[in-house]
Each structure stands twice: as structure tokens, then as C-alpha cells.
Symmetry: D4
Subunit: 250 residues, 8 copies
């Protein structure tokens, strides 16, 4: 609830069109619907410029379906569900016929696909084939939020030609998402080649001293290239969401 909305509501109270008790109650109750195990936030689409997103892991299929239903009942055109496994995706498809689910990204989008309305392109590049699930989560999230996405996969720095050959696509983008596990060097190299924001996503790809993504995370946080920021390990959704937000800045 912004300052402006607060002033507006108070003006109504002064004008007598809104009782003070009602105003306080509205403050408390309006923005979300309480399902008991979850409070669905109907205001988020307005307030944050995007539909509510449901984190599918750690919820039962019933909870996921109930939350999606409530969000749509609140008027949302589109709902994203992340980290949804195949079984829950089947339940969701049964409940919401216009849900589409992708096995690689484990992302479900409920509702019609949007027209791309971002200012430019988002380039999602990934170091290796094993990073694809995370890269696709980023790419599909960005697409579901109205962005054109260019994919550059398997461009790890050990074979620099693969990346340099695509420097044109990289430099044409308005935002770059760099996805890499193991030593995560892709973020630094990409960061040195472009002059737009780079969102780095460490992945848990690797073994041994990769420590489930810690090596890539630390590397990306210490990138010697400026203009790079980092999201959580394997957080393709977060990167796609942030890239979209940057790409939609007026």
C-alpha cells in the first residue's frame, strides 16, 4: 500500500464515504485472500508489475491448485508456478486446462502467452548442457513476462571461440543472464564483453569442490567485471524475473 493510496483512503474517510473502522479493516484484509495455509495476494500484480508466482516445491498438488485458483479468481491473467514436478503438473493441468508445463525448466504457465512488450532482447547464455534446466527456467520466465529471449547455450569459457562467435548477440541484448556451474567464470567473461546489466546465476552443476554451487556462487560474487550481480544458486526464475523487470523499465 503506497503513500498515495493511504492519502486517498483518508480523503474518503474525511468525506464521510468511508467509515474509519471500515478503513482499518480494509487495510488489514483487502490485499490478500486467506486460504489458511496461504494468503493469496491479489494486489501484487498491480503493485509489483507481474502476476503472483507460486513456488511449487514444498507444497502439495492440492495446495498448488488451490492457490492458483484463488489467484485467478482475484482477476490475474497469468500465473507462474516454479519448480513443479511432473506429477503435480498433471494435477494442475487437470484443474487448469490452459496450463502449459515444460519438463526441462519445471515451470508451468497458466493463462495465455503474452505479447513481448519489453524494451529490448534478453540474452540467456549458459556454460554447459547440464545448466539447461536453470537456463530454461530463466528464459521461459522472461518469455512468460513479455520478453523476447535469445538463447546461447554451451558457451563455457574453456572453448572461448564458442562465446566470441556470438559476441554480436550478446552485445545486442538489453540484459544478459549468465548461467554457469563449476567455476562460474562465464559471468566475468560476459561481463567484460557487454555494457548492459548482467544477471549471474550460479548452478549446482559439478561435483566435489563445486560444493553444490558454492564455487560458482563465490566466483560470481567476486567477478572482476563491473555490472554483474548475482542471484541464488539454481535460481533461474529469479534471474528471468529481474531481467524482465529491467527490460520493462520505462
Amino acid at each position: 500500500m503506497t503513500k498515495r493510496e493511504l492519502e486517498g483512503m483518508m480523503e474518503e474517510v474525511r468525506a464521510g464515504t468511508l467509515a474509519p473502522e471500515e478503513a482499518a479493516a480494509r487495510l488489514r484484509a483487502a490485499p490478500f485472500e486467506d486460504l489458511g495455509f496461504a494468503k493469496v495476494d491479489h494486489g501484487r500484480e498491480l503493485r509489483q508489475g507481474a502476476a503472483e508466482v507460486v513456488y511449487g516445491a514444498g507444497k502439495t498438488a492440492e495446495q498448488v491448485c488451490a492457490i492458483v485458483r484463488a489467484i485467478r479468481r482475484g482477476g490475474a491473467r497469468r500465473v507462474l508456478v516454479t519448480r513443479l514436478d511432473a506429477a503435480k503438473a498433471a494435477s494442475l493441468a487437470a484443474a487448469e486446462p490452459d496450463a502449459r508445463w515444460d519438463a526441462t525448466s519445471r515451470l508451468a504457465v497458466v493463462g495465455p502467452a503474452p505479447e513481448p512488450d519489453g524494451a529490448g532482447e534478453i540474452c540467456v547464455c549458459a556454460a554447459g548442457t547440464s545448466d539447461l534446466p536453470v537456463a530454461e527456467e530463466a528464459a521461459q520466465t522472461a518469455e512468460a513476462l513479455g520478453n523476447r529471449v535469445v538463447r546461447l547455450y554451451d558457451v563455457g569459457v574453456a572453448g572461448l571461440e564458442r562465446l566470441l562467435a556470438h559476441v554480436g548477440e550478446l552485445q545486442r541484448a538489453r540484459v544478459v543472464v549468465a548461467v554457469a556451474g563449476m567455476e562460474g567464470a562465464l559471468a566475468s567473461v560476459v561481463g567484460g564483453l557487454v555494457d548492459v546489466p548482467v544477471v549471474a546465476v550460479p548452478t549446482s552443476v559439478g561435483y566435489g569442490a563445486a560444493f553444490e554451487g558454492l564455487a560458482a556462487l563465490l566466483a560470481m560474487l567476486n567477478s572482476c567485471a563491473s555490472g554483474v550481480s548475482v542471484v541464488n544458486i539454481d535460481n533461474g526464475f529469479g534471474a528471468g524475473f529481474l531481467a524482465s523487470r529491467i527490460n520493462h523499465l520505462a
Copy 2:
């Protein structure tokens, strides 16, 4: 070196105006000037949209001055030097009369101050008084790169009124930089209040289980608010640079 520049140079070679050996030599030598201990990159201002930045820690005063001189000789209008202590700052001021240094941020800017030409405002908010050095590094970096900056300091989440009272400034900004040590909760709360990119900067403020900023870093990486990305602990410069880059997107 972009694909376009490479094609251009090759066209010259074909036209006979550039010898092939010379082209290869230019590829190797042109973009920087070699000082022995450092290679000054005259191309970065063009390529990355900002002057070269010198990381002052771990360099001697002599090295800092020599690098700044070389960069300016290459035509740069403005040079930033980060993490510069008072003694080195004095040496720099002696060598470069138009250098300005700030004791809080330890940032030196050499050359004239720019006119703000970013698309909107950058809001830098900080949780506590002890976070000011990092917050000022972010704010002054952004100002030196041509941005208007709004500062909201001492707005930690334990006294939520302090932050909520300024939700207007927050929501008016085009990018928000959230600086916090200890538990770093500011990033999540701010992330839930705005619909623009939030650059989170963990600081090493705190003691004990703060583990020199690790607690805040992990908290920010796990922010439950979307649209938040993170830079290194105490990396005010990186946050200010990235915020400026986002604020200057066409």
C-alpha cells in the same frame, strides 16, 4: 573488440589500406597501454560506457598515480579510484589537482563532475549508521557516473516506521540500492515494496555470527522478494555502477 570492428578492420585489409601483419599487431597491442605492472585499457570507456575504474587497495600510491595518468593520457574525462586510503589520496591530489576524495566512502573522482543524465533517480537506502561507508561508496559512484541519488539512511527493519515513512521516495526511484549488514533483512522488505530492480549490498557490519558479512550475504541471496540481486560484501562501488548502468539503459 566487437564483431563489427573486426569486420571493419578486415575491410581495410582487403582494401589494401592496412597490412595484415599490422592488423594482427593492432589486435594485440591497441586496446591498452602496458605499464609493466598494469595494462591500461583505453577502450573501456567506449566499450563499457564508463571510465576506467582503479581499485586502490593493494596498489602503491605510485602505481595508482601512474595508472590514473595513463588513463587520462588516453583521453578519459573522468577516473574513479575506489578503496583509497587517506595517504594515497593525498599523493593522488598532489599529482592530479582536480581529484576529489571523500573520507567516508574512500572514493576519489578525478576530473569534472558530470551532469546527471540517467533516466530516473537511484535510491540508496542503508539499514544503520555503520553501513554509511558502503552506502556512500554506492551513492558517490552513481553520482560520478551521472545519476541523481536519493539517500535513505538508518532505515533498518527493526523500526519499520522509519522505512515505511519513506516508501514514497523508494517507489519513485528507477533503481534501489539496499545496503545492510547483520541480518540483511532490508533487501527483502524493500524488495516487497517496489517494482524496480533492487541491488542488494551486504556489509561486514556486525559481529559474531555475522561472520564478516556472510550472514547478510546469504540472507540477501535467499530473499523471498523477487527482483533482488546481490553484489559482493561491502561492494558499494559495484552496486552504484550497476545501478547507473540500469538507469542509463536507453
Copy 3:
């Protein structure tokens, strides 16, 4: 064994009503019953103001049932068994017909439900739907120990309205239990809103740099709000027990 009990026993020895060897033997043998693999402490209910609690994980169904039986034989009205999976719960139900088990909290309560006799209400708030198992363990533990519990679920700080709308329930409580995974910011925000003890419970909800609850744990330990203390990751039982203890202080 308190000083007073020791003095009492010595008085008996002096009075000749208790043989010294017997006194020493009693010291050694009295307070518990030895099952070989476990020593059941019949004195704990008196000494610590609550029934014995059995930690169900890492024990066989047979061991759980034998321990519960021994405790009840010692006169306890009520026994709690934590972290009990469904299979062991079935065994327990077969052995103790008045056992009730909850699938979400994995808590079993054997014996009649108590009348709430605490001084006030305990408010258990949780950041997200995935935190419910831990939150319910806290809430049901507190109820089984004689407390009225108010639940506030899905009030994570990324949607601050959800929490602020319930500030009344929060401020009415005598103790607050704050349950959160990921970045654990809920504890700090709640801590700033109330003037009663806040027991923070980090959960292992999250992924990547959440490091199985470490991020939330560190955040809560570094809370910038005063009056917050922390229990182990996922230790809903411990939080409910401590909250009950505070709520029953004379």
C-alpha cells in the same frame, strides 16, 4: 535433585529413618528407570514442569513404545513424541489408544488434552506455506503443554501488508514464535513490532545458498531487533516448549 531435597534426605539419615547406604543408592537409582537402551526420567515432570518428551527420530517403534509405556507407568499424565513418522505412529496408536498424531507436525500426544492454563496467548507466525510443518510442531507442542495459540501463516516480509494487517494479534500475544526459512527476515520484522519475547525458528525451507537453513539461522542470530532469541533449525518443538515455559512463569 535440588539442594532442598538433599538436605531433607540427610535429615532422614540423621534421624535414623534412612540408612546411609540406602541414601546413596537412592541418589543413584531413584530418578529414572533403566530400560537398557534408555533411562526413563520419572522426576522430570516435577523438576522441569512438563512431561517427558521422546525424540522419535533415530529410535525404533519398539523403543518408542517401551519408553512411552515406562513414562506413563511412572505416573505421567501426558507424553509427547516428536518427529514420529506415520509407521511408528501407527505402532504407537496400537499400543496407546489415547495417542493422537498429526501428519503435518509429526507430533504425537499421548494422554488427555490439557486445559490452557498459561498466562496469555502464544502467537505462532510463519513466513510461507512450506514452513507449516515446523510451525505446527511449535503450535501443537504449546497446546499440548496448556497454552492458547494464535496462528498467523504465510506472512513473509516480501508482502508486508499480510503481516501488518495482523499486528494486533501479534501485539496481543505474550510470546511470539517466528518461523521462517530462506532469508529468515520475519524474526527481525516481528521483533521490531512487539515488546514481548520472540522465539525465532529457522527452517530448512529454501534451496541453494539457503544451505539447509543456515542462511535463516545466521540471519536470526544477527537480528537487529532486540528481544529475539533462536533455537535450532526446524526445531518447532523447542520453540513451542520454550514459549510455553515463558507463558507459564508465575
Copy 4:
């Protein structure tokens, strides 16, 4: 700002005694005074039942004095300043003649000493002589907030008689603060002896695998005794504050 205060202010708006713009401004400006580098919260004493506390580390002597002055100007009877070194303490004493500072605890209390008005006694026990600075910070904080404090020092578990000899003092307390470094076992042993809340404070006392208090912290978080919760390493203030809060519950 509580729900009740919000309703009250809205009632004034409806009654015409308060202009809506003014109400919004008051919401934003009232609760604190902005010193630029800090926002002094005059409402905290009312809202949280204790004077504002200033964290002295990471602030200059000038900042500390200015903040203390502002807090007192706001009507506070008493201000605590924690982690204040001798030099800053001297500056504070010059500015505030009724400031008292203790070299062991590094705590300064500005204003008259309170009458103890807590419900019972707080027992602060410490494992070793090296833990005294933290233990005294806890004890003096509690005293400055109106509590009677009993000190049990050098009662580490390697010489159990020292602790057992004082089990009477322990069991008479309404809250126990257990301070220990190294292996931090004191918290578990104390937790098994009493039936009141135990606030455990790990200290950074020790070397090698103590890892600056990490060993004690982990031990205390894993205490096998119920009723124990933990604050940050070396956070004597936090423990004393929480103990006072529990001791002042109506």
C-alpha cells in the same frame, strides 16, 4: 504504529480535527528525528518498553554523543550505549555528566539507575573468567533495565561441583543467562537443572577449533535440554535485554 493508533488517527480525520495530508505526514515523520546519519526513534520506549539502545561500535564519538543527546531531548529517562571503548566513553562522559561506564562490559548507562521492578531475579552464570566481559554486559544491561541480578561466575562443567553447589541460586531465578565459550556445555547442563527460560550466550573465548565462538554457538543451538534459546556470539546485551523482557512480563 499499532492498529489502535491508526484507527484513532482516522477518527480524528473523520471528525475534522486532523487534515488527511497532515495525517499522512505524521505517519511518515512523527516517530523519529532525522540526524542525517541516523534516525532517532522517540517512540521505541513506548512501543518496546525500554529506552533506545545505541550500538557504539562502528560509530564515531561525535555520532554517539549526538544520538544520545537527541534521544534524551525526546524525553527518554535512560540511554544505554553498548560496545563503547574507553576513548568514546570519555567523550560521552564529557557531554553527558550522568553517564556511567564500565570497563569490563564496555557498557555506558546515561541517566539515573532504575529501581528493580522485575518479577524475579535473573541469574547470570559464566563458565570461565575470560567470559566475564560478556557476562557483565548481560548483567549490567539487565540491571539498567530494572532487574535484580545474581552472578555465578567460573562455574564451567569441567568442575561440576562449582555449579552444583549453586543449584539453589539457579533454581530460584526467574530467568537464567548462561554464558560460555569453548565447548559451551554450560547451557545444556544448566538447562537440565532449572525449569525457567535459559538464554544461552556463546562467547568467542577459546582458540583453534573454537572458531571465534562457532563451536559454542553450535553446541548451544543443539542443546539436548529443552527451554534453551540462543543469541549471537558475545551478545551479552541481547541476553540481558531478553532476560529483562521475560522478567517484566505482566
Copy 5:
């Protein structure tokens, strides 16, 4: 190969009863039998005062059986196999009829049980029921190496009476093995009660911030009681072996 043996062999060489090439070959080949995947050390029983011990985890049933057979062929009276699961134990029993395997400790002893010939008793105490597998591995190892063992189980420090009641058994032992997970405080408390060597074994019992035994390990390494040393997490075998070695010192 000891200095004395070396001198002896050289004497033979000088005496002409041993060819120099043969001496070098003997040095290289004598002490073990090469199975390809393992080199069986027939000399260890002499050199180290105990039969060869086979670490069963990470070996196939075939490898375990082949190694045991080779050791016995080398003349060993008794072979211990640690961390042997039920399936491999069945294979071993088929191959070696005099093998005895215990499901709790996962230890197999092949060959006749020894007469206790240690100087005194070994007391194995364990904090909780869940620590039994490790405690039994220690106890049975010690028994298989010729020691009398006294078991004290479920004597965790949260119920100090349980331990104090058995202080006699503790103080009668020549070596104490203290097994505990969670906060591992048992080692310190036991260490303060006895004047013999205490071998502390941290276990992976616990959850959350127990970090798979790390909390107990650190606690035991930092024990404030003198005379305590530590073996690896869950290393019951190592503790039993060392206790036996101490108990067999001439």
C-alpha cells in the same frame, strides 16, 4: 620394519646367509600379500598388537571375503570387519562360518572370542538412545580386542542425575569412551569427573545446526576438561581400538 629387524637382516647379509638382492626384495615383498585391489598386511598383528581390521564400507562382498580369507591364511587368529551391512554380512557368514555379526554395531568378528586380558575396565557411556550404534561399535571392538567393557547408556547431561548416579562405574574404569551427538557436552562433563583418559566420539545424531556431527565434534575438541581427546565423527571402532590399546599398555 623396525631398526632392530633391519640390523638383523643386514647381519645375515654380512654373514653370507642372505643375498643382498634377496634382502631388498624381502623388504619390498614380505610384509603383505597383494590381491590386486588390496595389499594384505600379514605383519600388522605383530607390529601393531592387533589383528588386521577391514573397513567394510566401499568394498564389495567379494572383496571383503577375499581380504578376510587372505588375512586368516596369513595366520591371524581374529579379523574384525567394520561398517558391514546385512547383505555383505550374510556373504561373509557363508564364507567364514565362525563369523559373528551384530546388527546394531554393524561389526563382524571372525574367529574365536578372546579372553579379556586388559589391565582394567573400559567404560563406554553414550548420551542418548540414538547414539547406540556408535557406542556398540566401540564396545564390541574393545571386547573383540580382549577388554572388559561396562556400558552406561542414555546418560546425557540434560538429566545430570542419570550420569551422577553412575559416577562409581565411571571412576572405576581405566579408560572412558564418551559417545554423544547434538551438543556433545557429555565429554566435558565426564572429563571433569574422572582422572583417566577419555576418548570422545562425536556422532552424527541430531539435525539442523548439528551439521551431521560437526557441532559435537567442535564441542569435544574444545572441551574445557583436560584429558579428553577426540576421534572422527561416528568412529566407534577407532575409539574402541584406542581404548583397548591404552588398556593393554604394559
Copy 6:
């Protein structure tokens, strides 16, 4: 792409036998074939002196087969696939009849076995039987890259004779690969016995404070013997590859 190749291509451009657009396109496209999910690098065999190696973990059987096929289509005589489980190995064997797969090392080699053409022998030594999978991955990788390999297995430092008996094989090698888990001391002892490069491979063999190979990794990085370097935990392939590279230096 080396400097020489770049100069050559430019010469062609100047000679008019290569159009500049074509040159740029070749730079971008030539070195690899894009399968969508992977970019196959046909140039690596020339550039790096070895066939392309496919990391089998984290790829589907279909992806593995498609990549192998593309590499062979590009003219490679031999392809290595690492970390391939039995099921994927069966798929590969069906697609490539000349594939050989080893269950211990999980390595597949597609194409004819090479003649050993390295300058000397590579000695692969391993501390225990459980280290064999990693040791064999190193040994078979080296063999597939044209090296003679000597294996010394089960030569852990606790039975020093086993290692010392083979000091001849060790000292005859041109490179030594030392494979060990647990405390990883083998690398230091071997490093002190030879005067050739030692490639140390920590393994995840062990339990408890081995922390999945971390203990061995740290030990090897801190080896007091000079001439030792380290690869990732369990990275037998990397060690074998590097050993081969050293053994093939002209």
C-alpha cells in the same frame, strides 16, 4: 584460434581469396557444430592435443549419443565419455559398436585404442581399495590418451612398507598420480620420494569429518612436499588427462 591462424586468414582476405564477411562468419561458425543443447568443438583435438571429452553426468543418453556422433562426424578418431552409468553406457554401445565401457571407472572410450606414445610411464597410486574407481578413471584416461600406466593400489601411509616396497616403480615414472581419500597423506609422502610432478587427487572416500573429500583436498593443497598440485575431488579424469599432457611434452 591462434595468432598464426588469424594472420593466415587475414592474408587470404588481402589476397582476395576470402571475402571479409566470410572471414568473420568463419571465425564465428567454424570451430564447432551447434546441436542446440551443445556446441561440438571440432577444433579441440588440434588445438588441445586430445579428442573432445564428454562429461556424461547430467546429460541424457540421447544427448550423449548425439554429441559423440557429432564429434566423430567431425573426424575425431577417439572420444572419451566420463561418469557414464551402466544404462547410458548400454545406449552408447548400441549406437557406437566400438565403444568400450568399464564399470569401475565409469569411463567409455569410443574408437580404437591408441599406441602408447608418451615419453615415459605414468604411475597411478591409490591409498585404499575404496579409491579404485577414481584411480581407474585416471589410469584408463591416461591409457586412452596414449600412455603406459603402472598401478600401485592399497599403498596408504598407515602401512608404509607397502609404499616403500614400490619406491622403484614410483621413482621410475615420469609423472605420478596420487589418489587418496580420508586424510590424503599419500600425496605428501609420495611427493617426498620422487622428483617428478605429482598430481594429487583427493577422493570422497571416508565419513564424518572427511566431509566428502574436503579433508583430503585441504591436506593435499597444504602438502609440505614440493612438486605436488591438486585437482578436484574425485576428478580421476582430470588427473589422467594432465598426467598425459605432461608425459607428451616434447
Copy 7:
């Protein structure tokens, strides 16, 4: 206080020679003298077979002197003070003329040197020259507790001959203390050469990935040699004390 003493005291109570109140008071007060900041344990020499040891770090010179004086007043023949810096040592020497302090070990022994009365020799071996302070702390502690000590210094495993040449001294000892930093391999190698208890002491010698002794600590905990146990990093005192205890077992 042992069971026997307790029974004895009770017998006195029954016989009327001891009032019950007095008995309880004696229990509480007898075993130590309270200096306020420390409780001096006069019973430890009897109970634990050694004089009280004062940990000098973290105490002021005044505190150290007061504690030593109290211990001697209690009848102790000898007091050890560990980790005492030169300045405090001078204060102690002024107060206690028969104090001897060693600059390498930082150990002070107050009182006459004992006759060696242990059963055998203790061999203290150290890997490098930098480990001497810790090794000497172990050796001098053992000597002050009545043991003959053999020193083997600079016998790190990278030059195995240095250690093997002294295998006789090693194998003659009744207990071995193995001191090493860096990779800590000495403990495993020594453990494989002897059949007596080995007390391993990791030191903080090293840099980088030695992580202040963590690498050596983990290596020693994972020693593949049986019979090895570990004390805290740099804890020479603890090793010497434990070795003495083993060497004095009846």
C-alpha cells in the same frame, strides 16, 4: 566428589558428628575458594591426579597471580600456567619467586620440578621448526607432570628418512605426541609405525588453505592409522597432559 566420599559424609551425619545443614553447606562450599572472578578448585589435584592448571590467555596479570596464590594456599605443590605472555610472566615471577617460564612454549611452572614417575617415555615429534612452540608446550607440560620426554623435531613426512631414522625412539615410547601443521600427515605415518597411543596435535602453522589449522585438524581426525586421537589446534598443553595421564596409568 565421588560416591565413596558422599557415603562417608552421610555416615558422619548419621553418627551425629556432622550436622545435616553443615553437610549440605560443605558440599556447596568445600571444593573451591571463590575469588569473585574465579572459583579455585582445591580438590582437583586429588580428584584428577594433577595440580590445577591456569589458562593464562584472557586473564589479567593480577587475576593470574591471585589464582596461583590461592591454589598454592590450598596446598598444591605445583601450578602450571599456560599461554602466558612475557609481560604477565614477569608479574608472576615477581609474585612467585620459584616460577620458571619458557619463552617458546609460553608455559610457566610454579613450584619445584618433579621427579619423573611415569611408567615409560613420552615421545614428542614435530613436523617442522615452526611447530616448536606447540611441541614444547606439550613436552614441558609432560615434564612438569613427572614424565621423561624424548623430542624428535623437524621430521615432516616430505623427508621420510628423517622420521624413519628415528623409528627406534618412536617405538620405544609408551605414548607418542605428534605435532604438525599444514597437511598434518605426520600423525598418520607415525600411527602406522607404533603400537602405542598417538595423541595428534594439529597446529595453525601454514597459510592459505591451511585455514589456521583446519586442514591439519581434519587430516588427523581422518587418519587411516588406528590408535590416533586428536586434541584442539595448537593445544600442546592438552596433548602433554593426556600423554602424562596415559603414562601414569597404574
Copy 8:
């Protein structure tokens, strides 16, 4: 002592030219000279192909000088002393007039400079100016061991042109040493450009999440480029030594 030397010595024993007692004594005493605090290994130059190297940190100036003197007395032509600060270097220069010390690398070389006799060139590349101390330690070590060294400094991956321009020098080298702090990506990029062994040296350059070199260390261990191995953080000496060893392989 190699097998051949052992056989030789035994032959002498058999021939009667060497008494057996003498042979054993020689085995024990020959290879080093005992200074009490250090055992100087006169055999290392022969056995390991390089002069003894003295680790200067953690030794007094007196110890350093005594060890150097003993080594030279043993016939060594050249001694290296690493990590020597200016004060100790002055002492060494006074004692050994032909000692040369470099302030950047803190390396002292005592004795005449060698003629380069390695097979090829060693290329030492470093990412930033702050990495120079470590890079120079590597380069000067290699030079002191008889290698030609090419230096490429300030070639971090954020400005890829700087590195690519020197790909010729890189590819001409026989071994590459890659020195980098922060995210350590240089090792992977270099590893992809060359077909010779790459020795990666992480440095402690950086701040925050660089964790004193841990980020670079993990990145280098996880390098996606084959042929890369890693030495300890800041271990320039180790890298230079290993590079020399590889460069001197016959």
C-alpha cells in the same frame, strides 16, 4: 633413500667394507644434519633435483641463517628462502654476502644465478596488479631453478583483449602458471587456450566473499578446462617449483 642406494649399501655390507651397525647408523644419520630445531637434508638436492628450500615465515632470523649455513656446508650451490621479510633478509644478507632478496616476492636466493637449462619457456600470467607478489614469487623461483620466464601481468578476463593479444606468448610456453585472486577465472580461460600443463595459483587478493582466496581456489579446482591443476592459496613458490620440474623433465 632409493632402492638402488639400499642395494648398494647392502653390497658393501656383504663385501665387508661396511659394518652392519654402521650401515644402520648411516641410514639413520646420513641424509641430514641435526641443528636441534631443524634437520637439514643434504640429500634433497640429489634426490629431488633442486636445492633445499627454506620456508622463512615462522622462523627467527637466527634459525634461517643457521639453516642456510648448514645447507651450504653440505655442498649445495644454491639455497632459496621464501616468505622472508625485510628485517630477516637484512640478517641473511649480513651472513651470506651473495644473497639476493626481492621485496615484491619476498624471495631470497643465496648463491650464483643459474643458467637457464629447462626445455622451454615458462609463462607466468597474473590477473591484476595486486597479484604481483605471488606471481613474482613463482617467476623468480622458476628463474632461480634454471628456467626462462615470460611474464604477462594484468590480463584479467574482464578485459579479454589484454589476454588474447598475448595468446602467442601463452601458446609458445611449455608450462603456464596462472595467478589470480577474486573469482580466479583466468585459469579456466588460459586452460582453454593452450595445450600444455597449467598450474593455477589462487591468491588472497579480493575482499568480502573472496574469503581470503577461497573463492579463487574453488573456482580453479572446478575449472571446466582440462589440464589445469592447483596449488595452495598464494603459493607462488610451489607453482614456480612445479613448473620448473615439468620444464626439466628429460
